[in-house]
Symmetry: C2
Subunit: 246 residues, 2 copies
DNA sequence: GCGCTTCTGCGTAAGTTATACGCAGAACTA
DNA sequence: TAGTTCTGCGTATAACTTACGCAGAAGCGC
């Protein structure tokens, strides 16, 4: 009886969809969800996610912590909205060719995550339900629309790619600049001290190859894995050559 | 001068590698790192990661919170050790064929993550440095040892697969049984209420296809994506037919 | 125009947390 | 046996989320 309105989602999420019929009875709200989320993002951008507390956000707005709870029922909700706004609108328009489109899409996600490292730190609490999150999903599916894949395959492919971007970004962030504290100065040196070449022969060979020392281009590294995934997807397609026709 | 010993890593991590020379002067420790980690895992398994506090772990051991800080300098360290122990030893032996081996490896990781949902909730704070973590890495690399790939390609491939397992597990956990609270009862219904078919045509089509309703086999879903990735890796290999020999 | 209702901002406070500090006493060394 | 070096742990602090409830604003019905 409490949530007759609609989706069963928290009110703030519905508000993000524009579903909130604003009550016309009481005093006008002095804040806005948008302003709160923007302030929270500012804090996270400049001081990191650990520094983000309700009080800190409120101070940013010149308000008090408890005021925020008129707009958001819990901190988790604020985080969800921050993630949605932090990603921003999905990249559009994109190349027609499915492969070029997905590449563009994946790179955009990777860049978004690198730009705001706290995005990957926010614990995922459920399937995507916010506008931009679903917008990105839609945008990715669009690239595959002419491939002839069925719905399940499309979703799997998209999940594959988005998961890869997330993972690559997480790694890139951690090795280059861990958000919390110190940068791992010489991962290769640490590994060399820890692992015994007899029990870790393969890993030793990788360390000796020097790829951990020479911190090479992240983009190249990223594209390599992405191309593997897309090769796999490509192998799925009916060999009609549809992808080539304008 | 503080950490002349070795790696610059926290002492508890070094202890996990067996590097800790136990001092023979004072009273015998009443606890063990292993016991602490085991108790923490018990708490996480039964009550979830949110319920895991230093005090809660101490109560499990009949000890006090501050005692734990003789073994672990911060909660983060305990979490890192929990993850390492939670994964357990890597799956071995594995099939010789690289593809069968990696499939087995990826499934094992997926299962480990599904079995202990809190594993994916622990925030990643850096590159892997604990014994089992690196053991899994070694184990994965081993599958690729006869493929002729260079070190960088091997690492990329492994990162690809492990990232995929992580991602698939995260999704599976969230949709089937979110660790925090409520199960998303009908994701498809929620989406139908939120999205407008005109602005989300692709997503609408996917929802209408019913794949969100029929919560199908996770294993099949998992294997699909994995095969895509391995197809991509396979396309990299020199066409010697080495993979087919024995 | 008047009171009632409904809402907002926000102060207060409660309940949890991680963890710094330091002491009493145990166990080993000489 | 004296001294040293540890351990367990009590106390205390600082930070955090958030329940509760009040004072007052803004609109509604009459």
């Amino acid at each position: 009886m409490a949530d007759q309105t609609s989706t069963g989602l928290p009110r703030s999420i519905e508000a993000a969809w524009g579903l909130g019929e604003r009550p016309s009875r009481g005093p006008k709200p002095g804040l806005t969800l948008d302003r709160i989320v923007a302030a929270a993002i500012t804090v996270a951008d400049t001081e990191g996610l650990d520094a983000l507390s309700m009080g800190r956000v409120a101070k940013e707005l010149g308000s008090s912590a408890m005021s925020l709870y008129r707009y958001v029922t819990a901190k988790d909700e604020l985080l969800a909205l921050m993630v949605d706004a932090g990603f921003g609108a999905p990249p559009e328009p994109m190349p027609e060719d499915w492969r070029a489109g997905l590449t563009c899409w994946a790179r955009a996600e990777f860049m978004a995550l690198i730009t705001r490292p706290w995005l990957v730190q926010v614990p995922i609490t459920g399937p995507p339900v916010t506008p931009n999150q679903l917008g990105w999903l839609e945008s990715g599916l669009k690239s595959l629309s002419r491939t002839g894949l069925d719905a399940g395959a499309k979703m799997s492919a998209i999940l594959l790619v988005t998961g890869y971007s997330r993972n690559a970004a997480t790694l890139a962030i951690q090795i280059v600049a861990p958000p919390g504290e110190q940068i791992m100065p010489d991962y290769a040196a640490v590994l060399r001290k820890l692992i015994d070449p007899d029990t870790f022969p393969e890993l030793t060979a990788v360390v000796d190859s020097g790829i951990f020392d020479a911190d090479d281009d992240h983009s190249a590294e990223f594209d390599f894995g992405l191309d593997r995934i897309l090769d796999g997807v490509a192998a799925l397609l009916p060999a009609k050559g549809e992808a080539a026709t304008e």
